[in-house]
Amino acid sequence: MNKNIILYIGILIFGLVAPFIFPAFKVQLSILCVLIVLALTWNIQGGEMGYNTFGNILFYGLGMYLCASVQVGMFFPLAEWTESGGEKTFVHTPAQFFQGMAVGLVVAAIIPTIIAGLIGYAILGLRGHYFAICTLGLGVAAGEISGGIEIIGAGQGFTTPPFPDVGGLEARGEFFYLLSFGALVLTFITVRAIYSTRFKLILNAIRDNEDKAEAMGIETMKYKIIGWMISAFFCGLAGGIMGGLVGYIDSTDVAFDGREMGVFMVLMAILGGKGTLWGPVIGATVFHIFKEGFWTFFLGWQYVALGVLIVVIVIYFPEGIMGWLREKYPERFGEVIDEADRKAQVELK
């Protein structure tokens, strides 16, 4: 246990100083933090609960739009802002910007949580592939519908408030990095905390056999909804941060981007190993490094690579990195191996 605490503190310190060691990668590191948050929250559904959702992108996109709208709407008329597009007729003062961001992030986290609670009862009653397709539909529908709403920019997109003139680009990068790293730490602590309680066991029971879990007296629906609400909270938060970081929100290409972000979160969790705490973190890191390398050197072919990557991971690597490690070093994962039994099994083969 002691070793773990040292490890966590080490990672925390590394995370805090990372942008100062690698100043050129600030934005990439911030995006990585957001990706890890998304992978961790997807893992609550896909890994622990066995509900493979494509719909968490809904909360991410909602959070993005909500945060930006609140940030603008608190001080200026929203409709005129979006109408002016790229040309800024209104300028946030630094105080307004940070105030708006703070309130915006709170709203961006809370409203998706409420929405998850409201639709959860209807959607989470579906199982297996029906749930997957239904949530896929939900995400795409949200993108298409938000692309038709005038007040948030419709098809032409929504420019989020630019970072105020304090410290220039450096300060902007550090601000968003610290924000996303804070979100990551918060998410990780929450997820770790809930994984050490009975809640995780209930989620696993739902994954393994929902009917039996219900027969044992667990109100499965309640726990499924709570799990989804936790995911929605952090997805919304991540979306809000990402909106500010990217600086521009488009309905189908940035916010409700089921073809990119929506698949990324699934892929990262599977690549790392679903149903583990560290899997999504490792998966997201590996995936992000791979993706950025590919995006930089083979521009234009990224979706081809992505498609191939999905197929390869899903078919040949469904257990992920953590699953592979577990197979290789079972002792490290606390599995006790009876040597005699193993030998007997090998002989049987």
């Binding site: 592939h129 397709i133 539909g137 692309g147 698949v263 979706y303 498609g307 999905i310």
Partner: protein, 297 residues
């Protein structure tokens, strides 16, 4: 919101006819989806992209001066081999696995196809002009392009041919046997691997026909695949697997729904309405079944 559609009967008739003619095409794609779902127990997210690929084959024939209607013959033949190729490369590894694996793997194929088509054919919206002219009904208040009538006719023709083929031929019998019980079929000497490959090929060929017809009647674009997948999925879950009249009816119903959504909500919400309808249908079924303490299987 615009409810003019109900005040003028001619617009209503126009929307209904358009919807029915469009729905026949949807039903053809959905038939392919029901086939592979029933036989191989996979859900193919790349269905729509196969349709679009088929459409591009017809479009290219049009570019090289051949009448695009011939695409109805050529496209399924090429698509059959594309389908078999996809089966050999990817699908045969996901057939016995969890359905979600197949969804995710075909999602990957879908992204791959989308981007490859984008490279190969460009990101423009294209259509193959068939030059069939239009039919005017009711004092030219209702306008029907002949190409739509042609496409509906061809779809019905192909569907009938396929039904007869499935009933009478040896391969059709093998496919139906595999759908009923793959293990028993294997024991009785059916080469299920071949049956699966043929099923996926036939599905791709159907998509090819539908795509060729879509390129004549509507427009095609590399990124337009997913809505077709969702539509066919929706039709199949409304009708149920192996319910052919149901597939035809719900396909036409969906077509009419879309045309009315187009008139009432505006074109920008058309795809959104389709996806929302899917969610609503699933939720409705879920509440209906949950009264009996069951769930969608």
């Amino acid at each position: 919101m615009d409810f003019m559609v109900f005040q003028y009967p001619m617009i209503t008739i126009q929307a209904c006819l358009d919807g029915i003619l469009l729905g026949v095409l949807f039903a053809l794609i959905a038939y392919g989806m029901a086939l592979q779902w029933g036989v191989m127990n996979i859900i193919n997210i790349a269905q729509g992209d196969l349709v679009i690929l088929g459409g591009y084959i017809a479009y290219f024939m049009y570019l090289y001066g051949i009448h695009p209607a011939w695409g109805v013959i050529v496209s399924p033949i090429i698509m059959y081999f594309v389908g078999v190729g996809i089966y050999k490369l990817v699908i045969n590894k996901v057939v016995d696995r969890d359905l979600f694996i197949s969804i995710l793997a075909t999602f990957g194929i879908s992204i791959l196809f989308m981007q490859l088509m984008n490279f190969a054919f460009g990101a423009d919206v294209v259509l193959a002009n068939s030059g069939y002219g239009t039919t005017f009904l009711f004092d030219s208040n209702v306008v029907l392009p002949n190409s739509k009538i042609f496409s509906a006719f061809i779809s019905i023709l192909f569907a009938i041919c396929l039904v007869i083929y499935m009933k009478k031929s040896k391969l059709g019998r093998a496919i139906r046997a595999t759908a009923q019980n793959a293990r028993a079929a294997k024991i009785l000497g059916v080469d299920t691997e071949k049956v699966y490959a043929a099923t996926f090929g036939i599905n791709a060929a159907l998509c090819g026909v539908a795509g060729a017809l879509i390129s004549i009647t509507f427009t095609i674009h590399p990124y337009m695949g997913l809505p077709y997948t969702i539509r066919s999925f929706m039709i199949v879950i409304v009708a149920g697997l192996g319910n052919l009249p149901g597939v035809a009816m719900s396909g036409m119903g969906l077509g009419v729904f879309e045309e009315f959504a187009d008139y009432i909500l505006g074109t920008e919400f058309r795809i959104g309405a389709v996806f929302l309808l899917l969610v609503l249908i699933l939720v409705y079924r879920r509440f209906k079944l949950s009264r009996k303490r069951e769930y969608l299987k």
